[in-house]
Symmetry: C2
């Protein structure tokens, strides 16, 4: 199992024991969480875009319209970007206000955008993205036409400089506070997929597919 | 009901009809979502920190340890920051791959950090933060000691330049595709608070408080 090198950008200095550099652990977060935020700099000013993404091998992929000015600018400038992905797992309710915390898994990575031009990589990125959103969906839907492919821009980001930060478990209070009559523990936070709601214009007789039940 | 001015940084150019500049709508997202990502620039390189936050009036607040190097740097540099907050509400499953989308509410705002020094504002920020995480919690817990207050740094960000982007509703497919035998609709995504799990070291006899049931 490989780990990412700890660099001056990815080294966790604050609460260093929460730092995770293991590739499998970092990929696990990237493959579970449905959106990332991408930060870039223009004229010294930071900007952020929340966007869906997927991972294949050691690259992270985003896509959008060729009409998107920020995607076009990013493809041509190859500017440095920072991408973060966060999953909140629980509220850590300590006896003291001071020791309240959250359980979470977050990944921060540094990379540069690369325009994807190969048809095979383009196709697989869109398939992987769609099946991450909804496992089994790609096989079921109308595939892009030539015109739709031409209207779609895909960017890749090599994952070379990345770290995760993870907290799990119950609160850690000061020794004296354990005697207080205050409830302490964790309230789990979950991201849940609900029951699919049919399009009001759904063709009569079309059933909810197995993969969505 | 007031709206934020549309600036060159906050104007939504791509899918402009999804742009929302209404103050109440933007505050609604900020008050519901539990974490933000904060982006800043150091030596031309963008960085991001996911962190809990709360809002009071027209300011957003984050806090952390006075030992946090990024918080200290931010307090002294007053560098421009970009903060984003995103709630994913649903997967929009169209008949065509091309028209797949997501329902979401996201806020992006631009500001500069301000170190909070007034005791009253400091106290109210921590109280608001704790009660946002867990409504009713602040009244129940051991309040910070003088030493704990001294170890806590709070930064505020005036909310002056902000916009939201929102998508709701069913998929919008090409006219011809509505005749296809493909299921289409929305799979809702919800962030759910689970049943509280007691600290294994909880003092015997302490019950789960009413506000957590």
């Amino acid at each position: 199992m490989s780990t990412f090198p700890i660099t001056d950008k990815t080294g966790i200095t604050r609460l260093a024991t929460r730092g995770v550099y293991d590739r499998e652990a970092i990929y696990g977060v990237l493959d579970e969480v449905l959106f990332c935020t991408l930060a870039y700099v223009r004229d010294g000013q930071p900007f952020q875009i929340p966007t869906g993404f997927c991972r294949m091998d050691d690259k992270l992929y985003i896509h959008g319209s060729v009409g998107s000015s920020y995607l076009r600018a990013m493809a041509s400038s190859k500017c440095p970007v920072c991408i973060s992905v966060t999953q909140l797992d629980g509220l850590v309710l300590a006896r003291s206000a001071f020791h309240h915390s959250v359980n979470y898994r977050s990944v921060v990575l540094f990379s540069t955008p690369e325009l994807v031009t190969g048809n095979d990589e383009l196709y697989r990125a869109l398939e992987t993205f769609t099946n991450k959103m909804c496992p089994g969906r790609w096989a079921d839907i109308r595939k892009p036409t030539d015109a739709e492919w031409k209207a779609t821009m895909v960017l890749s980001f090599k994952i070379e400089e990345a770290s995760a930060k993870v907290r799990t478990g119950p609160p850690i209070d000061d020794a004296d506070d354990y005697a207080l009559d205050i409830w302490a523990g964790v309230q789990p936070i979950k991201t849940v997929r609900g029951v699919p709601e049919a399009d009001p214009d759904l063709k009569a007789g079309v059933k909810v597919p197995e993969y969505l039940r």
